[in-house]
């Protein structure tokens, strides 16, 4: 009611040219570059995150191209081993901390307020800071490559003593870059929790929330619990390197294996930080294009929560070869394999949602279906790695590389691409080129399998990871993998074109509900989404009728809401 009054006043003020100017909340964005520096708007900040992540994806991808080029043939071909190691290290760090995590935070910024009917994030100024730390941290991380002794070359897991006693000077810059990235993630996560818990439309109960919101709520908890532990680990590294402590030095009574325990106490929740929001995205997309409510909504919520809790109790399955007691190996093996139960629940729920649906395969759905199939392959190879005696064979081979690229590339990254195709028309009010996008999809999905599937065979045959040269028996599969890698890398040039083309020349979309069968509050606001949305929270009836998981109410409340 009061919004209409304000709108009217604004209109009168606009006509008479006597605008008070204090009521900027109803204006569009400020002009120029400063808009992006100062912004407190969740949509602006979401856009910043997504572009930052995309640039970092291309940087990290270029490093992957160097790796695959060197491995195209056996023998040292293009780069020095030391530089090769810097490439594997920085590729991993940039993809994890620069591309995947910020991309999901960008999606959270754009979508969570729209999906819960909130006018913005709970702590908008802090939201700005969470983003604006990233370019500085990213620059600090990348600058290490140009320092004396080169950048970090000890692998993205930076195990001591490689990262303490034997590391280059630039490692201290790397440490502080990690501190800054962690600080940014923690603030971002606090904001997500406060937004979801405090900013929901009054009629929206927790079990009314879309699954993307649920998965992000749980992810935010994981971030707040895990990132400080990483900060602790790099702090101990810093003092071991510079101030004479001996946390990771057995000569002083410490233990290098202690580093691995602390790192993986962070690292294992971290892998779920990168996959739970992906589960959320897929759970939004599949019901839309299968034209059925999500199957097993509450089991999805409980499965997500159990995965999150279990993730803190399985870390040492990354360390079966550190000589831990057999009882420890047994415990971590069984706990790890337990995670496949809630994960299986999710996969079956997605399949069941599609079962007998009237499925259409627009680009977001293609990516979502590819996610379900290929992520499951990554899940199965994860089960193999989780078996302690088998892991003795697989540990630190290309089998591990294949496994985590199936879950992180065809899992996390595919879900981000799916999410961008799904929500981009809503964000910019233009439709992407469907035909080109489908060509891109098939190009990427075939090449990514050519890239990563042979790495399973390489690993089972015993090819170690993080090695620039290899025995001749691995030559054929490496060449195939590299060809797939170059093709997959090139597919991102097409993706860049598709996205830029959509934003600049795409067919304008007028319908609020971009996808006819999509449910969710984000589809009730105009297209493109206005700068400010949900100044008035949506009504309970609308929330229920827009639920993508409630069966019986959907028709009923849809009628009453009209």
């Amino acid at each position: 009611m009061s919004t209409t009054t304000t709108d009217l006043e604004n209109e009168i003020a606009g006509l008479t040219g006597t605008h008070g100017g204090h009521d900027d909340a109803h204006h569009g964005p400020q002009k120029g570059l400063l808009r992006w520096v100062k912004t407190t708007n969740h949509k602006d900040i979401g856009t910043l995150y997504l572009w930052f992540a995309f640039i970092m994806l291309l940087v990290g991808g270029a490093m992957a191209m160097v790796i695959r080029a060197e491995l195209f043939q056996p023998g040292l071909q293009l780069v020095e081993p030391q530089f090769f190691n810097q490439m594997t290290t920085l590729h991993g760090l940039i993809m994890v901390f620069g591309a995947i995590m910020p991309a999901f935070v960008g999606l959270a910024n754009w979508q969570i307020p729209l999906m819960i009917g909130a006018k913005d994030m709970a702590l908008p100024r802090m939201n700005n800071w969470s983003f604006w730390i990233l370019p500085f941290a990213g620059a600090m991380l990348l600058s290490t490559m140009f320092m004396k002794g080169g950048g970090p070359a000890f692998g993205w897991t930076f195990y001591a003593p490689l990262s303490t006693t034997f590391a280059p000077e630039s490692t201290d810059f790397f440490i502080f870059a990690i501190h800054m990235l962690g600080f940014s993630s923690i603030m971002g996560a606090i904001n997500v929790i406060a937004t979801i818990m405090n900013m929901r439309a009054p009629g929206m109960k927790l079990m009314d929330m879309p699954l993307f919101v649920w998965t992000w709520l749980i992810t935010a908890f994981l971030l707040i619990a895990a990132m400080p532990v990483l900060a602790g680990a790099v702090t101990m590294m810093l003092t071991d390197r510079n101030f004479g402590t001996s946390f990771f030095d057995a000569a002083g009574g410490g233990d290098p294996v202690l580093f691995q325990h602390i790192f993986w106490f962070f690292g294992h929740p971290e892998v779920y930080i990168m996959i739970l929001p992906a589960f959320g995205v897929i759970s939004q997309i599949i019901p839309t294009f299968a034209r059925k409510p999500l199957f097993g909504y509450s089991s999805m919520v409980y499965a997500t929560a159990s995965i999150a809790l279990l993730s803190f109790a399985v870390w040492a399955h990354h360390m079966f070869l550190t000589g831990m007691p057999v009882a420890g190996q047994m415990y971590f093996m069984y706990a790890t394999i337990m995670i496949s139960v809630p994960t299986g629940v999710k996969v079956f729920n997605w399949v069941t949602t599609m079962w007998r649906g009237s499925i259409s395969f627009e680009t977001p759905m293609l990516w979502a279906v590819a996610f379900v199939i290929l992520f499951t392959i990554g899940g199965f190879s994860g089960l193999m790695l989780g078996i302690a005696p088998a892991d003795i064979q697989y540990h630190d081979t290309y089998f591990v590389v294949a496994h985590f690229h199936y879950v992180l590339v065809t899992g996390a990254l595919f879900s981000i691409i799916a999410a961008v195709f799904y929500w981009l028309p809503k964000w910019c009010g233009r439709m992407y080129n469907e035909k080109l996008s489908k060509i891109h999809f098939w190009w990427a999905v075939i090449s990514v399998n050519v890239l990563f599937f042979p790495q399973h065979f390489l690993g089972l045959a015993g090819m170690p990871r993080r090695i620039p040269d290899y025995s001749l028996q691995f030559a054929d599969f490496n060449m195939i993998s590299s060809i797939g890698g170059f093709a997959f890398g090139a597919s991102f040039l097409l993706l860049t074109y598709i996205i830029v083309d959509c934003i600049r020349n795409g067919e304008p979309v007028k319908e609020a509900r971009v996808w006819e069968s999509a449910k969710g509050l984000e589809w009730t606001v105009p297209t493109p989404a206005p700068y400010h949305t949900f100044d008035e929270p949506p009504e309970k009836a609308l929330i229920l009728s827009e639920s993508s998981h409630i069966h019986h109410v959907s028709e009923l409340a849809g009628a009453t809401a009209k």
């Binding site: 009061s2 919004t3 909340a25 400020q30 400063l34 520096v37 100062k38 407190t40 006018k119 913005d120 709970a122 702590l123 908008p124 100024r125 700005n128 800071w129 604006w132 730390i133 500085f136 941290a137 620059a139 600090m140 201290d172 810059f173 502080f176 800054m180 996560a189 606090i190 929790i193 406060a194 818990m197 405090n198 900013m199 009054p202 707040i224 619990a225 895990a226 990132m227 400080p228 532990v229 900060a231 602790g232 003092t239 101030f243 004479g244 402590t245 001996s246 946390f247 057995a250 000569a251 002083g252 009574g253 410490g254 233990d255 202690l258 602390i262 106490f265 007691p325 100044d535 008035e536």
Partner: protein
Amino acid sequence: MQSRQDYYVPEGSYWPILGSVGMASLLGGFASSLHGHTAGITAMILGFGIILFMVFGWIGQVVHESEAGKYNLQVDRSFRMGMGWFIFSEVMFFGAFFGALFYVRQFAVPWLGGAGNNQFTGEVLWPQFKAVWPLLNMPLPDNYTVPKGIIDAWKVPAINTMVLLTSGATITWAHWALVNNKRNQLIGGLIATIVLGIIFLGLQVLEYGEAYNHLDLKLTSGIYGSTFFMLTGFHGLHVTLGTIMLIVILMRAIRGHFNKDRHFGFEAVAWYWHFVDVVWLGLFITVYWL
């Protein structure tokens, strides 16, 4: 009545970007100063100054907005959640260091002494090494400062425990005063808490002096010194921050800020103080006493 449209969304702000510049300058400067670049120290000081300016400016603006009545109860709830989860993240940060301490005491040091299936570690690497805690003799003592002894838990640390526990009581006393509109008692309680915090810090400095000058117990004293100084040092840093925050709250209380219903700033600092208190109890038991 609370109205949702009233949720305060601030205008664009320069504080965050300033904070990022300060942070990059401070940490980048620190890293380069570690490798003998004197310009690094300048950058560090500059960055620290920028961060101080940013923190005071930003928080000053928040206090100003709060006093201008721009925050409704929903905003207040966001702040509460923010502070609560921030403290949780701090708990996890300390958790990493406590975890390191427990791991070293339970596993690493006994294993170095040949426990479990590690008897060759002891015999082949450092046969003269005895696994005891507190670990005064490292496996390879030449590389480290060998301490003569450790801090006795029942001297200064026990007094410090009493000091911090008392300060937890005085801040609660101040909170009661605030809720019952007794402004003088609020100010008195805050001053008492600050004084106790400063006494605690003073005693910690004395204790560090004793450790460094008389006991040769240093950061470089193997894993015992590492865990001891990193845990108590980070705790001391947090007490310092908490004391500064209490001083800000005292100034605000003197200026008449806060009332019995709306005093998030006070409560946030009180939570933080209790958190620092609980961490100390963990330190006293696992670092000094046992």
